[in-house]
């Protein structure tokens, strides 16, 4: 039943959405133009703008119309600081580290806001009166009209800046070709700075001006900036295209959410982006003709400091302690949580440390495994074999599918996995049949050593923590053992070759595309197993547990722990989790801030992570026969991205 009479309202609403999407998308496009990075941290600046509106105009009684004079320079300045202090340093390490840095900054900013203002939503009332205008039969919040109006003004201003002023022309020149532009006298550093400042101004203003429309939460800007990112990429950076597309997306969203899809309308820009990527892989960035390896940036594949055989024994000894000795159940709890996380991080390491393909989708596969396992055990049988196999199989198959699309994206693979995760999160929220929707899925049953078909229960040992801990440790050991076998096999050898030089690998007959898809599917399956074990421990699942923050945390733990070896993921998981436990009493967001910051530092200064550090330490004290003396494969290579503007 379509109510045509309200159509004009939805159209107007669509224009409103398109307006502020356009502002954000413009800013993101500017930065992508000058630095080839998707600066999702602009979402954090959007949040800052919104909260400043609340603090200044709401709490302190500032005049709403004057407040931008304070807000805009602040967000512009922040953006400038991010660009010059952080992105510049990250960029020489490659595209993936830079993108990860952007995500880190987004999380840091929003977490700090959450720590300062608290999680609860705030509201700000619009300074306009009357609040609602009636134009004929249509009523609309007058503030939305203000948003549209100011967006149009700003868009014209930006267009004028880019077309007619020297600075704007410099930005456009740099976007075309950085080297040539600098030869013509354009100062890349200053121009990049201007682009960042302008972008920050737009984002902050967008947050500020929309604050009275929606409730203000610390995480509001996230989805919006991602939509802006998708829009700016499809439009490939041309200003009219970005604005036009934003408008179209806004309209599409408004109309479909009203008439057909509800919340799923959020998927539109992302599905569109994936669709365009299939046709034109270059949409996520300029195409790479040379060795793709160089785009992944520097990472150090560290061999664990202690020789493998001693390590297995040592690890088994340490991990078996909680089973033999009676420890407070808190330790078992920590052990289980670290263990399941470690499985997830190990799955990422297969992609990142071994294949050189950093992925931000592992959290989603973890979630797919969790949900699959929950649904299977709730409906068929709570056999542990069914749960793990089901989780692995479904996650693995979906992983293969996603991988097939992903290999077309070349060096912008990481951004692609990021977008996939967004799509999955939105899907989790909306496919209520399987996932229980926004209210979550509770009552996930405990596992038992049963046989699925006959439903004969052999043992029901998993009701106590010790048994569950043992299960997790056993599965982790098995998976790590399999991982080691895989790495040493021809499969691992081929993956290594692809990582080193994909073109060369192909020239000796290795079908690189197929291998990349295979390893992606494999790591998705492993993540699915981790998710399954997680689900049956926490017994309550919610889509927010498996969003990109989860994926990002895996990545964080992997890098902090150390890439490309067996214990790095475990150490990373342990390290992060334990410190978070200590900082939680202060604020649940403090840990996030700390670790996002540590990640940025690790990306720039300590590529070896904890394992690298341990290696130096232990190398001095342990006798030779225990230590790996092989050289670490430091791929500290910068590609042509390196020629920055010193």
């Amino acid at each position: 039943m379509i109510a045509w009479s309200v159509l004009p309202e939805f159209l107007l609403d669509g224009v409103f959405l398109g307006s502020y999407y356009g502002l954000l998308a413009l800013g993101v496009a500017l930065i992508f133009g000058v630095l080839e990075i998707g600066d999702v941290a602009q979402g954090g600046l959007f949040t800052v703008g919104a909260y400043l509106a609340y603090s200044l105009a709401g709490e302190s009684g500032f005049n709403y119309f004057i407040a931008p004079l304070l807000v805009i320079p602040l967000t512009a300045g922040l953006s400038l600081a991010f660009g010059l202090l952080i992105y510049r340093r990250l960029r020489r390490h490659g595209i993936a580290p830079t993108f990860l840095g952007a995500v880190s900054l987004l999380l840091i900013v929003q977490s700090i806001v959450a720590m300062g203002y608290g999680e609860r939503a705030k509201t700000l009332s619009s300074p306009l009166s009357p609040t609602v205008l009636k134009l004929g039969t249509v009523s609309i919040y007058s503030h939305k009209l203000l948003v549209i109006f100011s967006a149009v003004l700003l868009a014209l201003l930006v267009w004028y800046l880019l077309r007619k002023t020297r600075w704007g022309k410099a930005i456009r020149a740099i976007s075309q070709n950085r080297e040539v532009a600098s030869l013509s006298g354009v100062n890349p550093l200053r121009t990049t700075g201007i682009a960042f400042a302008l972008s920050g101004a737009l984002a902050g203003f967008a947050g500020f001006i929309t604050a009275p429309v929606y409730t203000i939460t610390p995480f509001a800007g996230r989805l919006t900036v991602l939509k802006a990112f998708a829009i700016s990429r499809i439009a490939m950076g041309s200003v009219p295209a970005v604005l036009g597309l934003s408008l179209l997306v806004g309209l599409a969203e408004s109309l479909t959410s009203a008439y057909f899809l509800g919340e799923l309308s959020n998927l539109i820009p992302f599905l569109l982006l994936i669709a365009v990527t299939l046709v034109h892989p270059g949409v996520l960035g300029p195409e790479e003709r040379h060795s793709i390896r160089r785009a992944w940036g520097s990472f150090i594949r560290i061999e664990s400091p202690i020789k493998a055989r001693y390590l297995w024994v040592l690890a088994a000894g340490v991990l078996i302690i909680p089973v033999l000795v009676s420890l407070p159940s808190y330790f078992l709890h920590l052990g289980i949580v670290i263990g399941t996380t470690a499985i997830g991080v190990s799955s990422l390491d297969l992609l990142y440390g071994c294949a050189g393909l950093p992925s931000l989708a592992q959290g989603a596969f973890f979630g797919i495994g969790a949900y699959t396992s929950a649904v299977l055990t709730m409906n068929i049988s709570n056999s542990v074999f069914l749960a793990l196999a089901g989780g692995a199989a479904v996650a693995g198959m979906i992983g293969l599918l996603v991988g097939l699309i992903g290999i077309r994206t070349g060096r912008h693979w990481t951004s692609f996995t990021f977008i996939s995760t967004i799509i999955f999160t939105i899907s989790f929220i909306n496919f209520e049949v399987f996932t229980g929707g926004p209210s979550g899925l509770s009552g996930v049953p405990h596992l038992s050593l049963g046989i699925p078909v006959t439903n004969r229960i052999l043992l029901n040992p998993f009701l106590n923590k010790k048994a569950y801990y043992l299960l997790v440790v056993l599965v982790l050991f098995c998976l790590l053992g399999l991982k080691r076998l895989a790495v040493k096999s021809w499969f691992g050898r081929s993956i290594k070759a692809i990582r080193e030089d994909e073109g060369l690998a192909r020239s000796v007959g290795i079908p690189s595309g197929r291998y990349k898809v295979a390893v992606f599917g494999l790591s998705a399956a492993v993540a699915g197993i981790g998710g399954s074990l997680y689900a049956h421990y926490v017994t309550y699942l919610h889509p927010d547990l498996f969003n990109f923050v989860k994926s990002f945390r895996f990545l964080m733990m992997n890098r902090i722990g150390g890439l490309g070896n067996l214990i790095g993921p475990v150490l990373g998981s342990g390290f992060v989790r334990i410190i978070e436990e200590f900082t939680r009493p202060l604020s649940s967001y403090l840990g996030q801030v700390i670790f996002s910051g540590i990640l940025i530092l690790t990306l720039i200064y300590f590529p070896g992570g904890v394992v690298g550090f341990l290696k130096k330490l232990l190398g001095r004290f342990l006798p030779e026969k225990f230590v790996n003396t092989g050289e670490d494969m430091a791929v500290m290579e910068s590609s042509r991205l390196e020629d920055m503007d010193e």
Partner: protein, 227 residues
């Protein structure tokens, strides 16, 4: 001896730039063909077409009597076509030995590589390392090799694929006289064992000492075909 490969009316254009124009060529089995011409003549593009890294715009490619125009790169390598790249490309992060082992990827090579080659010099991989004089650097990481040795390694990897047709893209560029002699000797050795070689090279001296015939390309067209 018969033809091992044939190119028929091969064309390749990139958005208006015609890189390869109406190329007809036959390659005799066991021959060494020198492919010469100025930079930008389309020689590397031709290699990309033959090896499958690029699809042709029009035209066909035949190898050992079969049409391979639509074949993937890995299928062509399995069939026996191997190419090298301009600038020495090796797997920097792997050891020299691992580099060569990786080269034996195509299944039939994997079995053969571990078999002894008869006269007591160990497996095929050992033979390759010996003949390219890389034995003493076996455990070194490839990135630590000097330029001349990287070029040897590049050749070693190519040999490891057990090719029937070897396309070498400027294998001698940047090498000193000593390396040049050794590399040239190596290619002569392989040619005597029956390998068909097509060689792009600017150093006409080495081309002259190696090649049975010459093909000259300019502006995408073959201007002096081999007869």
């Amino acid at each position: 001896m018969g033809k091992i490969a044939r190119l028929e009316n091969l064309n390749k254009h990139f958005d208006g730039l015609r890189a390869v124009k109406e190329v007809d060529m036959t390659i005799e089995r066991g021959s060494v063909t020198g492919l010469v011409g100025p930079n930008g003549a389309g020689k590397t593009t031709l290699f990309n077409l033959i090896s499958g890294f690029l699809p042709p715009s029009t035209g066909s490619i035949y190898f050992e009597g079969r049409e391979i125009t639509d074949w993937s790169v890995s299928r062509r390598v399995k069939a026996g076509i191997t190419r090298t790249f301009q600038g020495s490309r090796v797997f920097s992060g792997l050891s020299v030995r691992e580099n060569v082992v990786t080269g034996t990827y195509s299944a039939k090579n994997r079995e053969a590589s571990e078999e002894p080659v008869g006269d007591g010099i160990g497996s095929r991989i050992d033979w390759i390392l010996k003949v390219t004089k890389l034995r003493k650097y076996e455990e070194f990481l490839a990135r630590h090799l000097s330029y001349g040795y990287k070029r040897r390694l590049e050749l070693a990897i190519a040999i490891a694929t057990n090719p029937k047709l070897l396309l070498l893209d400027e294998p001698f560029s940047g090498t000193n006289t000593f390396d040049l002699q050794e590399l040239t000797g190596l290619i002569k050795l392989l040619s005597h064992k029956g390998l068909t070689v097509v060689l792009v090279e600017h150093d006409l001296g080495s081309v002259a000492s190696l090649a049975d015939n010459l093909v000259h390309m300019d502006g995408g067209k073959v201007t002096i075909p081999n007869e």
